[in-house]
């Protein structure tokens, strides 16, 4: 029994003349929450559909919990909870009837059926709408119904195709919290276009481009990017006197971890602003020590985390010469 929840080996998928996947390979161990990124048409949904057992691969292997989806699709589907893109649901059904139907089709045993449904309803916060037709629900509630449907049979693997698309900011946060909670006990693979979402939920990022894997790395490492991270600092003298910018810059350069110091924006004349670049080690603790020693007041310390977007843009850019560079 292999420990990986997902194993994909040189997977290809052809729809007529178009090649959606061109030899994709990756592995996901049990318990990991993986973000699946890529531009539209890169092959994210196709990969997820293959894993969920909706479409069959043209060649290559896709194993879910050690079961080949092409050899025993029904057994593989039992292990998976799937939220398809656009979350299609039976509009004319009541929420509770729909969940009962899913439980029956999934073969949830009769003695645990009502407990499982109750759990799913509670976790997804559906108590208030249980007797409503799905067609009448708001988009946020619909998404919760889709999630409830996916977790009803307590699957080992959750495949969520754009779980937060089309939701308002509050709904996004709710769904994110729910997914984070589910990620504590299950393997989750989710696709999204919202990069901060990956940082909020996933420990690992896979970027797919033109049907092949372009990047596979931990979220933390990717967030740092090639140039490392950056910390913006605004500081002033503790005694109210003005500071010598050159001297402060020298002192900052001496802070452990800091690779480079650039001048940044200050707040008014009594303060100085800097941008500290670092490679690996976060210099904020050392910065505090330095501030105490030099009697500065730190007005602002902010670690910038924008470089996942930079990495994404770089990796997915059409003219990227070496897409594996960021890995």
């Amino acid at each position: 029994m292999s420990s990986s929840m997902i194993r994909i080996e040189s997977l290809t998928k052809r729809y007529g003349p178009t090649e959606a996947l061109k030899g994709l390979s990756f592995e996901v161990p049990r318990g990991q929450v993986v973000g699946f990124l890529g531009l539209n048409g890169a092959g994210k949904s196709t990969t997820m559909r293959i894993l969920a057992g909706y479409v069959t691969p043209t060649s290559g292997k896709a194993l879910v919990g050690g079961i080949d989806v092409a050899v025993d699709p029904v057994a593989a589907r039992r292990l998976v909870g799937y939220l398809p893109e656009n979350n299609p649901l039976y509009e004319e059904m009541m929420v509770i009837d729909f969940l009962r139907f899913i439980a029956d089709v999934r073969g949830v045993p009769a003695d645990v059926r009502s407990t499982r449904i109750k759990n799913a309803v509670e976790r997804c916060g559906l108590g208030a709408v249980i007797g409503k037709d799905i067609g009448q629900l708001s988009k946020g509630y619909r998404q919760r119904v889709g999630l409830a449907q996916a977790i009803l049979h307590e699957p080992d693997l959750l495949i969520l195709d754009e779980p937060t698309s089309g939701l308002d900011p509050n709904q996004i946060v709710e769904i994110q919290n729910l997914i984070r909670e589910l990620g504590r006990e299950k393997t989750v693979i989710l696709s999204t276009h919202i990069l901060p979402e990956v940082q909020a939920m996933c420990s690992r990022v896979l970027i797919i481009k033109n049907g092949v894997l372009a990047t596979d790395n931990s979220t933390e490492r990717l967030a740092l990017g090639d140039e490392g991270g950056a910390v913006t600092v605004v500081l002033a003298s503790r005694h109210g006197s003005s500071l010598d910018a050159a001297a402060v810059q020298r002192a900052l350069e001496a802070v452990p971890g800091v690779a480079k110091v650039e001048t940044g924006e200050a707040e008014g004349s009594a303060s100085l602003g800097f941008l500290l670049r670092y490679a690996v080690e976060d210099p904020r603790r050392a910065l505090f020590e330095a501030a105490v020693k030099n009697e500065w007041v730190l007005l602002e310390v902010h670690r910038a985390q924008t470089s996942l977007e930079d990495t994404f843009r770089k990796v997915t850019a059409e003219d990227a010469t070496d897409p594996r560079k960021a890995a």
């Binding site: 069959t56 398809p84 029956d104 089709v105």
Partner: protein, 239 residues
């Protein structure tokens, strides 16, 4: 099996959630009732012969109207993706939908039972109403409906357009009804082949009260073929 029945139950309930079911069933009962009672007194016979005479041609329209949305609608709304990622074999999905549609035809037929009771009440004093042909006729109609449902499901699986599902289903069912209608004009050997292919010919045999294995085999084969084609068409959407 439970999963198949779950699909069938959901499908059956869905019929009644849309007005189409009521319109289709209402239309069927209206036309069949009118045809039935307008000829009953003319014939002056206490039997359901005339009803069983025109019922097959009504089924040519009724059954595709019932099956047209079955798979097409799931394709259109995207729920097919949800259904096809459930731990079910494709044939189980098809079988579930088949059972629901046959059940729906059964509901329609149930509402025609009053015809049988009225006619039984009209039987001349002293004679006994013969229930044999009535039971055989209803049984035959269910067999005929099963084969039409299987063909109609295949038509519905072809595209995401219900209208296409209806028209293709209508054409296919009509072909199997009409195929022997000019058999008398053709050489005997060819005529026999066409007769064998006709759902109407086999239905007449059963409605006469003769349950022959040849007729049952015909309906069984046609139904199985329809379900097989439907399953293959459905599986093709995974490609």
């Amino acid at each position: 099996m439970n999963s198949t029945l779950a699909v069938a139950r959901r499908e059956f309930k869905t019929f009644f959630a849309s007005p189409i079911a009521y319109i289709v069933l209402g239309g069927f009962l209206l036309v069949s009732g009118w045809l039935y009672f307008s000829t009953l007194l003319l014939a002056g016979q206490a039997s359901l012969r005339n009803f069983f005479g025109f019922a097959p041609v009504l089924f040519v329209v009724l059954v595709p109207a019932i099956t047209m949305r079955s798979i097409a609608e799931e394709r259109k709304s995207g729920t097919l993706e949800l259904l096809l990622t459930m731990p079910l074999e494709d044939w189980q999905v098809v079988l579930g939908k088949f059972l629901a549609s046959v059940g729906m035809v059964g509901v329609g037929l149930m509402w025609t039972l009053p015809y049988a009771f009225t006619v039984a009440g009209l039987t001349a004093t002293g004679s006994v109403f013969d229930w044999g042909p009535v039971i055989a006729g209803y049984l035959g109609l269910l067999f005929l409906a099963s084969s039409f449902v299987a063909l109609g499901l295949w038509a519905s699986a072809l595209s995401k357009n219900q209208i296409v599902g209806f028209i293709v289903g209508l054409i296919v069912c009509f072909a199997f009804y009409f195929v022997d209608k000019f058999a008398a004009l053709l050489p005997a050997s060819l005529g026999q082949v066409l007769e064998y292919l006709s759902v109407d010919y086999h239905f007449e045999n059963i409605a006469r009260g003769v349950l022959d294995t040849r007729d049952l085999l015909f309906y069984g084969s046609l139904t199985a073929a329809g379900l097989l084609f439907t399953t293959r068409t459905l599986s093709a959407s995974r490609q």
